[in-house]
Symmetry: C2
Subunit: 252 residues, 2 copies
């Protein structure tokens, strides 16, 4: 069976669990549901005003605008900024082209942008982490700011051993410096680390750095009408429909 | 009453707890008992060989040799090295002048040095952290390497929200960059952070950076015969005989 034809809920594991010492996790999208969180924050901000936003479109463009700024920083065409600031400026950029969005005040936009610092986990996130933590060192490895990820991890009581973000090396994934930070901080070999994410660019870069990689598709990342790429790739070492599914594979 | 004449077990608190959002902790000595851990590791390494080391003297000189190398790095006269490597090279330096220590092989020395990556907490450390974490964000802020502190925090199940070490900014306390790392990563104002330590140089630097500071004397830091400075200073914002004592003051 060709992996590219597997469906999103198929799973496989080509990893010998004892060969892994630590797991690093992408956060936004992979462990955290930004769509649900931002839609709720948006509904609260809009209140009973007659303003209807297409959140699938807004979130899709917001993430693309954010990624474009991260890429500009990586390319050296923009000075380094925290992702908290990037989210805020990317929001202004996208709302210029959204009907009726001029009704959103600076304070409304600050509130919406701040929701990225209180993202809610997917239902399987905490139960999966709790089981995985019994066996492995667990670390975040996020492009989100330290302040936002520390805040989310504390608010949601997510059982990590360590919070690491790209901000600590003034960069962002897929820069190899970010994976190097994880390897050094966790004190293990690259091939003893399993990177877990729903984004292929992240897993491809981690794999190139020497990590093992596990794909958790998140078909609802951009909401029920959003589009995501959930197909398996030949370079995946594992694929599971959820974090609890991954724990089933690794904590046998 | 002049604070400099208070005894080590006296405590006071000039902090309004709601004004504090996060606590940062020195680890080696302040929360972790390196003397007990290293003496145990030394006894295991020596086994039944007829070799008697004065551990109070060895530990005192080991920490001084380590500190001298950290200071040389801060002064720019030595290139940056991880504290794991510094401990190892400082051990060789001090054992040159210890009778009988030539019997300690490279492997013995590696084992002794590695004990700094599995230091045990003081008895009040974990109970104190558990209570403090209900109310505040808790982070390490150590000169130890990330790998060693992550390892200890996991092995001992110490309930931190975040592991931060000076290694993340290629420096060591009392460099202001280390306190700046904590402030940025925790996402709060400097005066909303309480630095907790048994070392005055650390608290003095944190205070200068704008943190509040709490002193926890550790009279046994260098063992029952070791000497420590446990007197209060005018710039302390709080002083408590233990971490549970600090929790009594801050979690009222």
């Amino acid at each position: 069976m060709n992996p590219s034809h597997r469906t999103a809920d198929a799973g496989f594991c080509r990893i010998d669990p004892p060969s892994i010492k630590a797991l690093t996790f992408d956060m936004q999208g992979s462990l955290l549901d930004f769509y649900g969180t931002i839609v709720d924050a948006g509904a609260a901000v809009i209140g009973n005003r007659d303003l209807h936003l297409d959140w699938t479109d807004v979130l899709d463009r917001w993430r693309k605008g954010y990624r474009a700024q991260l890429d500009a920083i990586l390319a050296g065409t923009m000075p380094w900024q925290s992702t908290d600031r990037i989210y805020r400026s990317a929001l202004d950029g996208l709302l210029e082209n959204v009907d009726g969005a001029s009704a959103l005040s600076t304070s409304d936009r600050d509130t919406l942008s701040a929701a990225w610092s209180s993202l809610k986990p997917w239902p399987d996130t905490r139960p999966g982490l709790l089981r995985l933590r019994e066996r492995f060192k667990l670390s975040t490895l996020s492009n989100g700011s330290m302040a936002s990820i520390v805040n989310i991890v504390k608010m949601q009581d997510l059982p990590f051993d360590c919070v690491l973000t790209a901000e600590l090396v003034d960069s962002s994934k897929p820069d190899p410096k970010v994976y190097a930070l994880a390897q050094k901080s966790l004190g293990v070999r690259a091939d003893e680390i399993l990177m877990v994410a729903c984004h292929k660019y992240d897993l491809a870069a981690a794999k190139k750095f020497g990590f093992k990689v596990a794909f958790i598709p998140r078909p609802l990342e951009f909401g029920p009408k959003g589009r995501t790429d959930g197909g398996a790739e030949a370079y995946f070492d594992a694929m599971a429909p959820s974090l609890t599914g991954l724990a089933d594979m690794l904590c046998r």
